[in-house]
């Protein structure tokens, strides 16, 4: 009859505590330095140099404690979690130790529970000690004790410790090699995220329009990347209403998940064969998963690396690189499993895997699943979310992102989507060297059946190309322009400034810059800002501003837009930036932590209301005027001809008469000239 009495062994527990004391001692020491000792040091130093009262200093210090959870707390829990697991379960990785421990009169449950709890105590006992000593330090330094923040730290840090330690223990059950444990642990902590990234970059060359995983899949990936998720979400923030801890759901869920992983680890341990000590993978059923997983991951990671390093730009180059590294990964995994270099007898498995991968990639390329050609019909789309870049002028409307249920816009989006697919399948010929514009569009359809369809496109479009008409219909649509500018986002009650760039001074022949707050007295600033805002909004309403053009050099764009951009700044006093816990609620309301927003609008000669207000404010006058875009395009073209800008070779430009006394230069980026310098000899 089996005994069920020994689920915990005190002797073994004590032995673990005494054997591995450096782990918990170091963990405790770091936190003791970070909290109670720092409390004492901060108070004594500030008292000496700044003369602040101890209570004020301890209040400030206590308010900063949960800040330690961000990044540092996660790092401590993740690092010491795996160290503790490596220590207390180290007996599984040595044949002699495994034999001795398992010959003791303790059941597997007892061994597991004793080792698990002793490792957990390595982390939780120091946490409790730090909690106690921090309270003591606060009390001794000032007589003031902030129980809330240090208790919050204790709960959150302990939760993270439970998760990371249990996760490490879970990994420990699947390996028989001590060094493999931290490797598995580290890899599994980031595997989902890395795979998502690799799938994204690898699928793009094979699957035209591939837009990454669905939101749900991405959300799952983030949850499966605990270190990153906790670093990103556990925050001690102040949004003007006092500090609070964000990421509590994550902390609770991961703590519960940690306990569940510990239970699963016990189940694996009960089935584990002790003779697997020394094996990289200790559980038989996991061995093929490990072998093929390593092969595919090395194919994805190193295959893409080789592809990127050597710049093999064709999908088949990428496929070759991927297959090569898949094969290398396969045999490397086999070597680890067999603990031998003589593994090439297993070539059949490798060959089957490579054939499957090649078939998979080729079917992606051939669009065997109809992914590329799948275009929803308008009546099956509930809403569409688009973001992208394209159209002119170069202002707020060039980049856009919005969601709409407008049927007209949905139809135009689908038409553009179809245009992209057609262009991909039957490319237009005769792309000119210049006058081709690159447009980008990310689209996400919410369909009537509740599913989501996402695609990502980027393509050159030029006058006469197949894509021109659907692109023009979409990009130049007034509704798209209105949504792109998003003028209703501006908060007129918190206007900060207006800046105007590239006004043309007819006397000095130079561009001028204007900032309203530098020219108008403070008492009059708000009225002036509001007047400009109202005028701009009126011009938008009347269609005098915000018209979009598909090509930079098309006639409408050149004749109806100016070189001048007007930028409106406004602020949100409790913006969504992360604010430092060092800032009090009063300080948080000051400009230090405000979020500043802006919108730039390219002026047009038809923006009568705006021009009138700017003239009234003295911004525009007889000398300082607006200049049409055509004027600089002419200069730009001349510069292109002289300096071979955009691919022209000046030597090929025969038969063009240029003023021999003029010199011209362009300073600019890919999206247009920043400045044009013209010099003429007198």
């Amino acid at each position: 009859m089996k005994s069920g009495t020994s689920c915990f062994n005190v002797t073994l527990f004590k032995k673990n505590l005494t054997r591995y004391w450096p782990i918990w001692a170091l963990y405790a020491l770091i936190w003791l330095y970070a909290l109670p000792m720092r409390c004492v040091m901060v108070v004594s130093r500030n008292q000496l140099w700044m003369g602040e009262t101890p209570i004020k200093q301890v209040q400030t210090f206590a308010n900063q404690i949960p800040d330690m959870l961000e990044g540092f707390g996660v790092f401590m829990a993740a690092t010491f979690g795996v160290l503790a697991a490596m220590a207390v379960f180290s007996y599984l990785y040595n044949n002699r130790a495994a034999g001795m421990i398992h010959s003791l009169p303790v059941r597997r449950e007892g061994l597991f529970l004793t080792s698990y709890l002793s490792g957990l105590v390595f982390l939780l006992a120091p946490n409790a000690l730090v909690w106690l000593l921090t309270l003591g330090a606060e009390g001794l330094c000032s007589g003031y004790v902030n129980l809330y923040t240090i208790s919050l730290w204790l709960a959150a840090q302990s939760g993270m410790c439970i998760f990371f330690y249990s996760f490490a223990v879970f990994c420990a059950m699947f390996t028989g090699n001590l060094l493999a444990l931290p490797a598995f642990y580290g890899i599994l902590n980031f595997l989902a995220l890395v795979l998502m990234f690799l799938f994204d970059v690898m699928f793009e060359p094979f699957l035209y329009g591939y837009a990454g995983m669905t939101n749900t899949a991405e959300e799952i990936v983030w949850w499966l990347t605990p270190a990153v998720r906790l670093c990103e979400n556990v925050r001690w923030r102040n949004k003007g209403l006092g500090y609070h801890l964000e990421g509590v759901p994550e902390l609770v869920i991961y703590t519960v998940a940690g306990l569940a992983l510990a239970a699963l680890a016990l189940l694996v341990y009960r089935k584990r064969h002790i003779e697997t000590a020394g094996d990289v993978v200790a559980v038989a059923v996991v061995r093929p998963i490990f072998k093929y997983g390593v092969a595919l991951c090395s194919g994805l990671c190193l295959g893409y690396w080789l592809y990127a390093i050597f710049g093999v730009s064709t999908p088949f180059g990428l496929m070759g690189s991927l297959l090569l590294w898949t094969a290398i990964g396969y045999f490397a995994a086999e070597m680890l499993l067999k603990k031998s270099f003589r593994v090439f007898k297993a070539w059949r498995g490798c060959a089957v895997l490579l054939v499957l991968v090649a078939i998979g990639l080729t079917s992606l390329r051939m669009d065997a699943f109809g992914y590329v050609t799948r275009i929803p019909s308008p009546n099956k789309v509930v809403s569409v979310t688009v973001d992208g870049m394209g159209s002119y002028p170069y202002d707020e409307g060039r980049s856009f992102g919005f969601t709409t249920e407008d049927t007209d816009l949905i139809e135009k989006t689908i038409a553009l989507h179809r245009g992209f697919v057609d262009q991909h399948r039957n490319p237009s010929s005769g792309e000119p060297l210049s006058h081709a514009d690159y447009i980008r569009l990310n689209v996400e359809y919410k369909l009537t059946n509740g599913t989501v369809l996402r695609r990502r496109y980027g393509f050159s479009v030029w006058p006469g190309s197949k894509l021109e008409q659907p692109a023009r219909d979409f990009y130049c649509d007034p509704k798209v322009a209105q949504l792109s500018y998003g003028m209703d986002e501006i908060d007129p009650t918190h206007l900060d400034n207006v800046e105007i760039s590239s006004m043309w001074n007819t006397t000095s022949k130079k561009n001028e810059y204007y900032s309203l707050t530098e020219h108008i007295p403070v008492p009059e600033q708000q009225a002036a800002l509001l007047a400009i805002y109202d005028a701009v909004m009126l011009d938008f309403e009347q269609g005098n501003l915000g018209k979009r053009y598909l090509f930079d050099l098309e006639e409408g764009r050149q004749n109806n837009t100016c070189t001048t951009d007007l930028v409106i700044y406004w602020s949100n006093p409790y913006g969504d930036r992360h604010t430092s816990p060092h800032v009090t609620a009063m300080e948080a309301a000051t400009s230090y932590s405000r979020a500043i927003y802006s919108k730039s609008i390219t002026l047009t000669p038809h923006a009568h209301n705006t021009i009138r207000v700017l003239t009234q404010l003295g911004v525009l006058d007889e000398d300082t005027t607006l200049r049409l875009y055509r004027d600089i395009v002419d200069e730009e073209d001349r510069a292109k001809l002289i300096y071979g800008y955009m691919g022209h070779n000046p030597e090929e430009l025969t038969g063009i008469t240029l003023n021999p006394n003029s010199a011209m230069g362009i300073i600019g980026g890919a999206d247009g000239p920043t400045s044009i310098i013209v010099a003429e000899a007198r």
């Binding site: 009859m1 089996k2 005994s3 009495t5 020994s6 062994n9 005190v10 002797t11 073994l12 004590k14 032995k15 054997r19 040595n94 044949n95 002699r96 130790a97 495994a98 034999g99 001795m100 398992h102 010959s103 003791l104 009169p105 303790v106 059941r107 597997r108 007892g110 064969h273 002790i274 003779e275």
Partner: protein, 300 residues
Amino acid sequence: MIKINDVVKSFDGFRALNGLTMQVEKGSIYGLVGPNGAGKSTILRHITGVYRPDSGEILVDGQPIYENPEVKKRVFSIPDELYYFTSASTRDMMKFYRGIYPNFSMERYEALKEAFSAVDEKHPIRRLSKGMQKQSAFWLALCCQPDLLVLDEPVDGLDPVMRRQVWSLLMGDVAQRGTTVLVSSHNLRELEDVCDHVGILSKGKVLLQRSLTDLQDNVIKMQVVFDSPELPELPAELELLHASQVGRVHTLIIRGNAAQTKSLLAACQPLLMDALPLTLEEIFIYELGGEDYEVRDIVL
């Protein structure tokens, strides 16, 4: 004490135990012998509850040993490769085992200090010589006062005096407490001195197991001289395991007892006939000879 029925254990496709069946009587000293790779250490790890068999059962006092702390409390093992906690001294290990094994006797620990006086109980075990480590292991094992002591190559590394002392202590426990000792060793001459039962393993199975007396009675070495130098035709009833010749003296290894063999050989009218008992080593080699173990001519 130990009953093993048809135990099978495979490692990565290699069948280390292939339907092994054996029995160890309570209070006996059972010697387990066999060539390298026969499965001796593997079966010992099953008997100490470390390995789980793929099939079959291992009973100690009628109860399965695997995952059974009540039985394992009465079993102590000294493996071939000893394990101690890093930096642990004999005293540290004593404290550990004292907390684990309910029968651990401090009086015995103090009493045995004298027997193992060469071992500094406060010195880290890993810094001791191999022989000292073995002494430390025996010291601790004897203090645990197990009902079953499982030993894998136990005296390997001990000097002859200490070997004798260790065996003396073990036999004292067997006599006084009825301890059962299961010992695996390649030192057959030594086993012959201490074991009362022997089991021979080959290829994961027990070839034979008997008391040493039965074993020695069952195979006999005859030295005979005939008229002619050649070996005459022997009676068909004689099961000849091996024959060799030096000069006119024939050495015959025959399965059967001495009296019966002598009477059968007498029919061949030998000039001289003498029956000699076989050593355990010779029995081991001749029994394994049928198992294609080609060393007999080298040893003899």
